[in-house]
């Protein structure tokens, strides 16, 4: 960490430190042991972690101020790319998952051509409409994508061979869980790097005051594009993981409004100006939905997400983690650390 010059003023204690999250991380690490034989609990948390990665990926773009309502496009294209490559060509999912990320980047370039001049609500609307393009094409291109029948019987998440040992991740829920957890932690590290880097400073500056940012030498469009491509890359990878986790996809599912709404809800509710807030919201809200609301209200349990987003915008505009860490959203440490 970069140290600033010692300042005379004592360092303000943050209302809540990032270290408060360490017990949570520890719990995630040992969850398969604690959850014992319950595959259901593990499955729910595997999904929660996957949705957390989608929210983290979404937030890379939101840092630059662009709210997307169209991340299902990247998610769906990623899921289909990885699914088709492994079904049709039998390629190992170690290869198809990164390729899926790249195909999402390609779609993001197309989206950029349409949307690069748009800001705010108009950008959001254009992304909302944009999802229809890959969805309708996937739905209709029977020869390639098998259309609305979807892809059935997808191979599971990739296995791992260490010397003579072979860990088949897909064979056990525990394996899938740790695979997704590992990806989540990797992505969290990436997002932390992005936030703390010059790229992150540029994106935040663009979000706050685009004109001032360009006057200070920031090439606004270049950085907005970088944010979109990085965000699409990881959303595509998440989509691919989802396909191999669930092993069945169809256009209405992976391109549905659900996967555009979920990252937006988690990120805004957790705090889109924070690094980890979006992931936290996913890990709290999704299990809450699955363990509490789903049994109570099998049809319509997702009203929870609608209610949460309305309440957040009205009462906690910076999200709950943003609120807890108010005034400490900063990337560069300023206090005297010596």
């Amino acid at each position: 960490m970069i140290k600033g010059q010692p300042t005379s003023e004592p360092v303000q204690k943050p209302p809540i430190g990032q270290f408060a999250l360490l017990p949570g991380l520890a719990m995630l690490l040992v969850l398969p042991l604690v959850a014992g034989g319950s595959d259901y609990i593990l499955q729910v948390f595997t999904h929660a972690l996957l949705l957390a990665t989608l929210a983290l990926a979404w937030n890379i773009l939101a840092v630059s101020g662009s709210i997307s309502l169209g991340h299902a496009a990247f998610f769906g294209v990623g899921a289909y790319t990885s699914g088709l490559l492994s079904l049709e060509l039998g390629v190992s999912s170690w290869l198809t998952i990164p390729t899926a990320g790249l195909s999402a980047v390609a779609i993001a370039v197309l989206m950029w051509l349409f949307c690069h001049r748009l800001r705010g609500a108009y950008f959001a609307l254009a992304t909302l409409a944009f999802v229809e393009i890959p969805r309708v094409i996937t739905d209709n291109w029977d020869g390639l994508t098998r259309g609305s029948r979807g892809l059935v019987g997808l191979p599971g998440l990739p296995g791992l061979r260490l010397g003579a040992h072979h860990f088949d991740i897909s064979a056990s829920p525990t394996g899938s869980y740790y695979f997704v957890l590992g990806y989540g932690l990797l992505l969290l590290a990436m997002v932390t790097l992005i936030f703390r880097s010059n790229l992150g400073l540029a994106l935040q500056a663009i979000r706050e005051e685009e004109t001032a940012a360009s006057t200070l030498g920031i090439q606004v469009q270049k950085y907005r594009l970088m944010a979109l491509l990085l965000s699409a890359l990881f959303s595509g990878i998440t989509g691919a993981c989802y396909a191999h986790l669930v092993r069945y996809i169809e256009p209405g599912m992976v391109y549905g409004i659900h996967f555009s709404a979920i990252p937006l809800i988690f990120a805004i509710c957790g705090g889109r100006f924070t690094i980890i807030g979006p992931a936290l919201a996913a890990l709290v809200l999704y299990p809450l939905d699955q363990f509490l609301f789903h049994p109570l209200l099998p049809a319509g349990h997702e009203f929870l997400y609608g209610a949460v987003i309305i309440l957040t915008i009205l009462f906690l505009p910076s999200g709950f983690w943003g609120q807890l860490r108010k005034g400490h959203l900063v990337s560069i440490k300023t206090g005297s650390i010596e």
Binding site: Q5, T7, L201, E208, G217, F273
Partner: protein, 259 residues
């Protein structure tokens, strides 16, 4: 060679000439005040120099190079920086980060801010009197603090020419005096200053020369006292339209003693 030279610079919005045939030159090390009533075209001129607007005709020369129609981030690399009429801090970022952002986009690519960038940023905060709160959230600063932050951020780009847009609007007389001292200190760092100042509260204290605009045209330039005695300038200021009455009343109050 002049530092900045404007050659028959014009800008038209629709059918309206915001600026018409401006000829002017700034010499290195000067402080020049840009004065004129509301709607004279002062901020438009700044927007043209910093590349926010493209001129309808005319040229802008900086250190002998033609910078007409360069984009804002390119202009920054030539060595021109500015503050904004309503200060525009990056509200959700810290005070220190605001200034660091001014430092780090110098053309060559770096992944992280260099420790020396942060050191320089802290020194600039010292200069503008914000050294005691580098970690504060910029959006929560007072108006005067935000203006000083704007200045530090603009200085962080190491400009040869700094454009200040209404930095003392709404300041108390004491705060204006402090701002004047600050501007002198900035000049001592070798920065040439061009100051938009509607009520002349700052420019009469610090300017070597004044440039007066009215309705997009140059009506006078020269030593401050000469310009203030110029009939056209007096008429432009006194004959302010009535829809600006609030501001013109304030203008008489603060700028009036100069006439």
């Amino acid at each position: 060679m002049s530092l900045l030279r404007l050659e028959a610079l014009s800008k038209k919005f629709g059918e309206h000439w915001a600026l018409k045939g401006i000829e002017f030159a700034l010499e290195e090390g000067e402080i020049v005040g840009l004065v004129g009533p509301n709607g004279a075209g002062k901020t438009t001129l700044f927007n043209l120099i910093t590349g926010r607007y493209k001129p309808s005709s005319g040229k802008i020369w900086f250190e002998g190079k033609d910078i007409t129609s360069c984009r804002p981030h390119e202009i920054r690399h030539f060595g021109i920086s500015r503050t904004f009429q309503s200060s525009r801090p990056f509200a959700k970022m810290s005070v220190l980060e605001n200034v660091v952002v001014g430092r780090i986009f110098r053309g060559e690519f770096h992944l992280f801010p260099h420790p020396t960038d942060i050191k320089t940023a802290l020194q600039l905060l010292e200069l503008v009197g914000l050294a005691h709160k580098p970690g504060a959230v910029a959006g929560e600063l007072t108006l005067s603090e935000q203006r000083r932050l704007d200045l530090a951020r603009a200085l962080a780009t190491e400009p040869r020419l700094l454009l200040l847009d209404e930095v003392v609007a709404g300041f108390s007389p004491l705060a204006v005096k402090q701002a004047a001292d600050l501007v002198q200190r900035v000049r001592e760092r070798g920065v040439t200053l061009f100051i938009v100042d509607h009520f002349l509260r700052l420019s009469l204290r610090v300017s070597d020369r004044l440039l007066a605009l009215d309705h997009g045209e140059k009506i006078a330039e020269g030593k401050p006292q000469e310009v203030m005695r110029n009939r056209e300038v007096i008429r432009a200021y006194l004959g302010v339209r009535h829809d600006d009455e609030e501001q013109s009343a304030e203008g008489m109050e603060h700028g009036g003693q100069a006439f």
